[in-house]
Every structure is written in C-alpha cells, then in structure tokens.
Amino acid sequence: MGKAFDITLVGEFLPQLVQYLGVTLQILAVSTVFGIVIGIAAAIPRLFRIPILSQLVVVYVSFIRGTPILIQLFLIFYGVPALFLLFDIDLTRMDPLYFVMITYSLSNGAVFSEIFRGAIQAIDYGQTEAAYSVGMSDSQTFFRIIIPQAIGIAFPNMANCIISSLKDTSLAFTIGVMDMVGRGETLIASTAHALEVYISLSIIYYIVVLVLEKLFRLFEKRVNRYKPDVVSSA
C-alpha cells in the first residue's frame, strides 16, 4: 500500500498471474471429479436407506454445509497430518495443494450427494413402473431410465456448484498454495501495488466464470434436449 495507483500495471500483472490459472483449474478439476465419486457414494446410503451409513452421511453433509470452507481447509491442513502421525507417517512436508484438493473434494462431495439424491427422487415413479411393465430389471431401470434423466435434472445445480467452487479456490493461498492468488500475494509483497493485483485477479476470475457459464449452458441444452422449454427454443 501507499504507492500511487497505476492502471498500466494491471496489463503487466495479468500475463504473470494467468500463468498460474492452471493450478486453479487443476484444483477445480480434481475436486469436481472426486466430488462426483464421493457424491455418488454418499447418495447411495440415503437413497437405499442403509442404516448407520445413512446417518453418517447426514452428519457429513450437515457439517460441510454448516461450516465455512476456510475452516474446513484449516481442519484438513492440520487434521490430516495429525491423523497420519498416529501411524508414524509424516505429512508435514506434503505440498499444501493436496490438502486443498482433499478439502474441496469433500466439500463438493457433500453438495453433489444432495444434488444427486434430489434429482433421482424428482423422477416420477410412473417411469419406473413403465420400465418394469416392459420387462426391465431393477438395475436396467436404474441405469437406463432413472440415471439419464437424473443427470439432466442435476446438471444445472452441479454447474452452479462447480462455479462457486472455482471462486472458493481463491482461498487456497491461505495455507500456502501457489495458485493465482498465491502468486498475487508475492507480487504485492514485491511491488506494493495491491489494488492493481486484485483488479487483475478479479478480471481473470470473471472471465473464467463467464466462459464456464457459457460452456455449461451449451452442455445443459444438450442433456436436457427432451424437455419442452429446451425443445421449443432449439
């Protein structure tokens, strides 16, 4: 702080910061993929009312939805190494990037599991009956009739979740990850032009969000092409 504002610096910082966009997208991609896996695993006990497991899932989802991502990040950052130390495994020098990925995967997993469960429950039971009536088995009905439609219902919510997850990655620097914001912090330390750095970062985030939104909307049109409003506008 303290130095005069210089808008031309934004042009100078942008290319330097964009180089670290890959790290941000890597966190996003990994946590989305693992989030989907965890989300499916966590949705199953509740859909099929598996005792004990389903209560555990309720607590897991409630905790994730009940605490800030920053707290979750700290809990994983300090908690996972403590846990592994019990087995004499020292993780203290592990790249903080992994802790970020674990945190965001767990966080996305909880949200995804709720989205999946809601989507599956939103399918009219008449469709299941119709599938049985033409001679399909339980698993054929689930995978051929229920799941394809549930994906269509879940997709817009998942897209929102992924976008807010992208914005949340901006907090990864707090445990020392060298992503865009992390690089921004070092730029601030060396140039003392904080405002220009944050303007540059905001521009990058905004553009990425707009691009993702556009992509998701195109994809959504595709998966939901059987729905009346999509059909008529297509």
């Binding site: 702080m1 504002f5 409630s62 905790f63 939805r65 009940g66 605490t67 800030p68 991502i69 920053l70 707290i71 979750q72 700290f74 809990l75 300090y78 908690g79 403590a82 130390l85 914005k167 949340d168 901006s170 907090l171 707090t174 914001v181 904080a194 405002l195 944050y198 303007i199 970062l201 905001s202 985030y205 905004y206 969000v209 707009l210 939104e213």
Partner: protein, 236 residues
Amino acid sequence: MTIDIPFMWTAFKEIIKALPVTMMLTLIPLFVGFFIGIVVALIRVYKVKGLLAIANGYVSFLRGTPIIMHVMLIYFGFPLLIDAVAAKLGISVQTQLIPISTFVLTALSLSAGAYLSEVIRSGILSIPKGQVEAAYSVGMNTFQTMVRIILPQALAQSIPNFTNIFVGFLHTSSIAFLVSQKELTGAANIVASTNLKFLEAYIAAGIIYWLVTILVEGLSSLVEKRATSYMRGGVR
C-alpha cells in the same frame, strides 16, 4: 500429536466471544444488501432504461468473482478513492483512521446485494402473470401491484433461498479474518497460534459455525411455514 479435548472446550469458550462480531459481519451486509437487492431486482424486472445495463453488470461481475476479491478491492481501493476526492476538494481526510470493518462491511454488502437481487428477481418472476392482471383488473396501479400483491408472495416463497444466502454469508464472513478482523475465524486463529493447538481451535470454531447454521435453518423452516401458510390449500 493427540487431540487435547479439554483445551477444545477452553478454545470454544474463548472463540465464541467473537460470535457477535461474526453476526454483525453477517447481518449488516444482508440488511443493506436486501435493499440493494430489491432496487436492482426491480430495475431488472421492469427493464429500466439506462439503469438496466448497470444493474446487469453489477450482478454479473459480483456473482462472477470471489467475494474475497470484493473485500480486497474495497479495502485497497476505497482509501485511494477517498484520498483522491479529498485532494480535489482540498480537504484532508485521514483514511488510515477509518476502521477496517467499514471496508469489509461495504464489500460484503455489495456482494450480498448482488446475490439477493437474483433471489428476489426469481421470486418475482415465479408469481403467475394472472395475479398481475387480476390486480390491474381491480384497479391497482403498477406500484401498488408490486408492493401489495407480488412482493409479499415473492419474498415469502424465497425464504429457503434467503436462508441459503444467510448461511452462505455467515460462512463468508470468515474471510474477514484475512484483513485482521477478530470474528470467529480470526479469534480461532489467535487462540490456535498463541497456544500452538491449531486443530483444537479450528474444531471448536467449526462447531460454533455448525451450531449457528443448524439454528438458523431450524428457525427459517419455522418462519417459512408461517409465511407461506396461504399456500397450504386451506388446510391448517
């Protein structure tokens, strides 16, 4: 390293003292943001010329960027702006004397306004057009229709969304600790680093957030039942 359970309780008692700060950092932005949200939503619903583009840009940019960026932009940008204006007017303002919380509250209010305007707008759009026509048919004007017929229903229906935003901003207020606010996370950070018991402190803070969230969600579902009682098809 083992977990020091008794210390967790000590930390809990220490950290929860910061709850009022967290609540302030949550409630004030939501309160201010609500009014921003209504104004912006109405501009967008009625497509007010000249203001529509600004409103759209405001919502799109603030929803498209991380809230920590808003906090930092305001925190570093506002003093420069005030200094510049003050210099033009030839008065001297000691920007370093403005409390940091003012900047945080400004930033969070602007963010909340953007998110709430979307909730309010979709609430308004969910009210069937027939209601507007019915209101006109009994002689109400546009303003009366909005205030007496549309908004009450739109807001009542949006309670679950408001709850999500409330919980979201309760959690978002934790980033204020990054600009050294002593709210729950900031307090946990102090307790953690002075005692070198990080995990215990953050578990305690997590539990506090968790409890507040559960409380808020419970209250909200009670309020929702009352507020949307007109939608229960005549059955109490």
